[in-house]
Amino acid sequence: MAVKDLKIVGQPVKLRDLDTHVTGETVFYEDVRVPRLLHLKMHRSSYSHAKLLSIDTSAAQASPGVVLVLTHEDLPGKKVYNALVGAGVGPEDEPILAFDKVRWKGESVAAVIAETPEQADAAAAKVKVEYEELPAVFDVEEALKDGAPNVTAHWPNNHYIYPDDHKGAQVRFGDVEKAFAEADHIVEDSYQTQPIEQAPMETNGCIAVPEGDGRITVYSNTQALQFSLDTAAGILDMPANKLRFVGGTVGGGFGGKVDIMPEPITTLAALRTGRPVKFKYTRDEEMRVSSSRSAWRVYIKDGIMNDGRIIARKVTTYQDSGAYLRFSSYASMKHCGHMPGPYSIPNVWVDSVVVFTNRTPSNAMRGFGVMAGSFALEVQMDKIAETIGMDPWELRLINAYREGDMKSHLKPVEDAGMVETILSAAKLAGKELPANFQNMSSLDRKAG
């Protein structure tokens, strides 16, 4: 079903860099060769939650090959940041390098820059930090209880505060409680996903190179070049025209390369030393330090009629942001926008709460805010089918949204295709459906 008469769009043209990806000849950021390259390694917090009493870098400074050690006192611009501050998200809550407290195990404390990676590693281990351990919290609902350890002072109750002092991003459409009272069946359950690593082949990293004209070229594997440039310039309080970011060919992202973690500190190291500096996450850092996918806990309560129509859906979600905000408030808003899934339900209530814990901060991953929602909704749909004794295919087809239906965020459905997609999958899998279901269409509700 071609959309229109097209010549080259729609053709299975070979991936332009397929051959060099296979042979290993594609150029990635690490293939940049510059003389006099220094290497940065991070000394990281060994506690999930602790007061930071003192940082002693003298042994690290004296370690062989060390050129520079950076702590929070060396930061020329911001001490804390959030990369979405330009989009009005705040307050900025995450230290570039820790001061006062550490709030997750692996938090950046001191950057060590040396002639070789091995020398930087050895010196990073010599940074001496005195801590006073504090109670930590790891479960979202424990974190919301009175008396739970407070993760950051910005969020006194350990949850993000949305506009108008709302605890969560929310949807209010129709009247779910009234509909529950009228429903023939109520089906409730809770769903849990865990933190997941994006696992790109190429770990996060960059090389910052001072140029003769006072600018810094940053070879980066970020998923967003200008965003990383603007964020780095903002953190370092330098004009954006002093930075040039080069990249665009990346060894896998899946959302794991939008944190802007290596670039600012590496740029600062290049500025301070006047030499090129490389900071490449080890696989261990990629696994335990770089953002994971958030863990999500989703509670669903549905009201259903005997004929299979879902007339009310109430969703309460807790997103585990870890110790800092990053893009979690955006993800919970997207989670809200996704509800109630590909179905037309006349009464919808959603609260999606961003909760802070002493876990590695979570951030974007493929399906950000949506994956956990789809998982919960679709396992719930099978429970509904079982509860009311209806074929699960028929249940979905009855409720699937049609063109022009009003969604719960008050936008009519456009480009609808859920019905046709379900029917196509049924055919592929050999599922036999009654004729009235086979004749259904996204364009109307006449059949069925």
């Binding site: 097209l6 709302h166 209010r172 865990q194 696994m287 859920m418 379900i422």
Partner: protein
């Protein structure tokens, strides 16, 4: 030991573009002296094939051969702004920006050709093979290369274009959630067949059959690549992957690919797919975003298949052997 089989499915939708919009991408297009076209961007190719599909879109909109389009991306000194590669946005946003830039460049190209052929612009069409000719009179033609050469060296005219795509930001009402969150929605339905070993708790995914509705496909092979890769990732998410194996505790966090388990080739089943193309109103040639959705439908489909096989109700991922065996124990205890 018993091996039980089950089938499950799931239907999902997925938004195209950053939630609530406000995420522009720009493109610049210009002709070289020999009639090639350079598309300058700063968008990032993560391996999904962005550079390839942007060349296809540019060639289509310019009306020139695909091979003559060069995509230059990845330098903030030369490439205009792109918000980034995520949110299933780049085909849609960058594709639309390229069409806008290519349309302007095509107009400039046809104006030069019209001057050379001494006809009016409205009478010209491209053949997609590198020639511009008068509609219905194929012999009255000029090549794109000759046109570009003339523009540079005889007429002193540029053949270039500027493009941007922005879905204007839509604020979300904090009380009701009212908003215009997306540009369009793509759709997926996945059927999974599994076999569960009730002694070890091991799950083998036997087959995945999916229908994906993605609007106009720009490149069907790359769409299929997303679908198969997404199914692979979905199997890992469903059965194995977690950075906190004792969630919510943080102990025993994996640190490498020996301790962070993902499916290997031997764990991968056959993936069959049917692709439907229902055009989006605002996508480039009707395309929708496909990148993220492909992981989302296999996950609940596999969990539903496991529940179907065992007669249990597992509501968490990953469904590790421990989760399976505990669910079977609970079922036995309840029926005792």
């Amino acid at each position: 030991m018993t091996k039980l089989r089950g089938t499950g499915f799931a239907a999902v939708n997925y938004p195209t573009g950053m939630h609530l919009g406000g995420d522009p991408t720009q493109s610049l297009v210009h002709a070289t002296t020999s009639g090639n076209f350079v598309v300058t961007m700063s968008s990032v190719d993560l391996g999904q094939g962005l550079k390839t599909i942007l060349a296809q879109i540019a060639a289509e909109a310019l009306g020139v051969p695909y091979e003559t389009v060069i995509v230059d991306t990845g330098d903030t000194d030369t490439g205009p702004h792109c918000t980034g590669t995520f949110a299933s946005r780049t085909t849609h946003r960058a594709g639309n920006a390229v069409i806008m830039a290519a349309t302007e460049a095509r107009k400039a190209m046809l104006e030069v050709a019209a001057e050379k052929l001494e006809v009016s612009v409205e009478d010209l069409e491209t053949d997609g093979q590198g020639n511009i000719h008068v509609v219905g009179v194929e012999e009255k033609s000029i090549s794109v290369a000759e046109t570009a050469g003339a523009a540079h060296f005889e007429l002193g005219k540029t053949i270039s274009g500027r493009g941007i795509y922005l879905k204007p930001p839509s604020p979300m009402d904090p009380d009701t959630g009212e908003s215009d969150p997306d540009s369009t929605q793509a759709h997926a339905c996945t059927v999974a067949d599994v076999e569960v070993d009730t002694e070890t708790g091991d799950v083998q995914v036997l087959g995945i059959k999916s229908a994906y509705e993605v609007g106009q496909q720009v490149n069907p092979e790359l769409v299929k690549g997303q679908i198969v890769g997404g199914a692979w990732m979905g199997i890992g998410h469903t059965l194995q992957e977690t950075t906190a194996p004792y969630y919510p505790a943080i102990d025993h966090a994996p640190k490498d690919f020996q301790s962070y388990m993902m499916p290997g080739a031997a764990d991968m089943c056959e993936v069959e797919c049917e692709v439907l193309e229902i055009a989006s109103r605002n996508g480039p040639f009707g395309a929708k975003g496909v990148g993220e959705m492909v992981t989302n439908s296999p996950i609940p489909a596999i969990v539903n298949a496991i529940n179907n096989a065992l007669g249990v109700r597992i509501t968490q991922i990953p469904v590790t052997p421990e989760v399976i065996l505990r669910a079977l124990d609970e079922k036995a205890a309840n029926s005792a």
